[in-house]
């Protein structure tokens, strides 16, 4: 019930708008029916009350009749026993009055008509007999009157009395029965109202549940699907039973996902081709470049030997440009390999202090060139780490050489700290300089390729503009991260955090670069 009903609603091939209207109308109909039932029940209850009131009034009338009968019979008996004109007259009047009352008795029900007729007949006879007795008495035929009274009046009186009693009894039994019946039908009505009300509420709830479930189910599925799509998973397809707008929506969502998957695949392919192409081009470029650099160095040596000093500055320019071009090509190759996912880390165990000093020794000439002091805080206590040594060196070299490059007559400070983690330790490295610093805008472009060169081509600083991009990518690959704080004009601090246990590297997916 909890599953097939929503599915049934979902599968109904009408619009959501119609479904909602139907549900609303169904609930309105239930309300109307409930109101109608209430009215009927109220009406019945009122009817029964009126019936009871009628019965009570009937009983009162019957009792009056019974009372009248008794008092009439008593006065007749006493009048006939001590006959004088006044008493006889009064007895006859009473008989007439009784007759008059009897004719005017109301509420006689069908079942009592027979009985009532009997009473009328008996009373008529009583009237006849009493009239005869009175006449005989008045005529002085006392003895005959007495005879007649004994033989006729008394039995008739007895019957009359018995009949009126019976009438009252019957009416009383009637009212008791009627009260019982009334109570029973009240109970029935009560249960009817309660059960109808409860089932209406239940039906409305069920209807609401089915409608909302049939609407919300697909909406939630689609939400889930959209979340997957936005996180790059285009393989998910949703099936909803709905044959309404939501069904159409789900179908469109699936189509969109399929379309996106195709597009994404194309983009990935294009990106992969690009990376492969770059890798090949870089490789092919390096071979002739190798010769250019090598031969220019060779020529410089030979020019020195032969005393051809004039050639040396130009040869130096060829060599420097060649090396710059080589650095660019190497960086592009690195990046394209990272993008193509072709870079594999090869972790090894190495001593951190030794590695740091190796890097520092290559950076020292650069620091000297700009009159910077290099402060290195690193000691044996750092111990060893398990990581791709070449990449860690490359990262550290990039940061230190950048710091030396952008600082003049200042200081570059390297701090290293081992941080104890829950499962493994971290190596925290910070490189702080007192150089030119960066503006907010420059910092926002920091990890974008060639952003250093982007500044109106003013090529004051050496470098490819790819160093930090590669550094950040390598950090991420190793499961670490890099952060920077800087103040324009007074220096920058790069903070690097690398896991010392290289097994945790590579768990982070490398985001594609937008070169």
């Amino acid at each position: 019930m909890m599953t097939w009903l929503p599915r049934l609603v979902a599968r109904t091939p009408v619009t959501v708008y119609t479904k909602l209207n139907w549900a609303f109308l169904a609930i309105v109909a239930l309300l109307i029916a409930f109101g109608g039932l209430g009215l009927v029940v109220l009406n019945e209850s009122n009817q029964r009350t009126e019936d009871l009131v009628k019965l009570q009034r009937k009983i009162a009338a019957y009792r009056q009749l019974q009372h009248d009968t008794t008092s009439q019979l008593y006065s007749i008996t006493s009048a006939l026993l001590t006959p004088n004109d006044t008493l006889l007259e009064s007895a006859l009047r009473q008989l007439n009055q009784y007759r008059y009352n009897l004719d005017r008795v109301q509420f006689v029900s069908k079942g009592e008509v027979e009985l009532f007729r009997k009473i009328q007949r008996e009373h008529e006879r009583l009237t006849q007999v009493v009239t005869q007795v009175v006449e005989l008495t008045r005529a002085g035929r006392v003895y005959e009157a007495m005879e007649l009274r004994h033989s006729q009046t008394n039995p008739v009186s007895d019957r009359l009395e018995r009949l009126t009693n019976e009438m009252v009894n019957r009416a009383e039994a009637d009212i008791v029965a009627k009260a019982d019946e009334s109570r029973r039908s009240f109970l029935v009505s009560q249960w009817m109202v309660i059960s109808f009300g409860l089932s209406s509420v239940g039906l409305a709830l069920l209807l609401g549940y089915a409608i909302s479930k049939s609407l919300m189910g697909p909406v939630m599925k689609m939400d889930d699907s959209l979340a997957r799509i936005s996180s790059g998973d285009f393989s998910h397809r949703i099936t909803v039973p709905n044959r309404d707008e939501l069904g159409d929506l789900a179908e469109h969502l699936n189509r969109m996902s399929e379309e996106l998957r195709g597009l994404y695949h194309q983009i990935e392919m294009a990106s992969s081709y690009k990376s492969e192409f770059l890798a090949n081009v870089s490789h092919e470029l390096r071979t002739p470049l190798n010769a250019i650099i090598g031969y220019s160095e060779l020529l410089m040596e030979e020019a020195e030997d032969k005393g051809e000093e004039d050639f040396i500055p130009d040869l130096k320019r060829i060599q420097t440009s060649g090396k710059h071009l080589l650095a660019l090509i190497n960086d592009i190759l690195d990046l394209s390999k990272i993008e193509a996912g072709k870079v594999e880390l090869s972790p090894e165990i190495f001593n951190i202090e030794n590695m740091v000093h190796e890097v520092v020794s290559t950076v020292e000439p650069m620091a000297r060139k700009n009159n910077n002091t290099l402060q290195i805080h690193c000691n044996e206590a750092l111990g060893q780490m398990y990581a791709d040594k070449t990449r860690v060196r490359q990262i550290l070299f990039n940061l230190l050489s950048n710091a030396c490059k952008f600082t003049e007559q200042g200081s570059v400070t390297l701090d290293t700290v081992r941080e104890t983690g829950k499962n493994f330790d971290w190596l925290n490295i910070s490189v702080k300089d007192t150089g030119i610093g960066m503006t907010e805008e420059q910092m926002s472009k920091l990890y974008q390729p060639f952003s250093q060169l982007g500044e109106k081509g003013s090529k004051k600083y050496d470098g490819t503009g790819l160093g930090l991009v590669i550094t950040k990518q390598f950090c991420t690959m190793m499961g670490g991260n890099i952060a920077v704080t800087s103040e324009y004009g007074s220096g920058s601090t790069f903070t690097l955090r690398l896991p010392m246990d290289g097994n945790h590297a590579g768990v982070v997916e490398i985001p594609a670069l937008h070169t």
Binding site: R286, T287, N290, L333
Partner: protein
Amino acid sequence: MKKILIIEDDDMSRDMLSRRLERRGYSLVLGVDGKQGVALAHSELPDLILMDMSLPILNGWEATQQIKAMPETKSIPIIALTSHAMAGDRKKALAAGCDEYSTKPIDFEILLGKIEQFI
């Protein structure tokens, strides 16, 4: 005079490297493929071998293995010349028996330092 065998298929690289080493006072023997390199190592018995890894006929790793397998030549130090940033190549070179490696394009001063470590 110390003798160095250069096994390198690229003419310019070989020429450049040999001329620069000659200027530093080494005598040079040149080979252009792996097979010739192995033969020269055996016949010339050089003091050191510079071995390119991507050679025709017999590649650098196989040539290295053969040289290191022969008793006459097994003690000759071999410096592998590997492509830039190919971590796999470096590992393979060392696994094949090379004593040292230098990445291409060659930084001549660093290579000289490495050569001097051995001879």
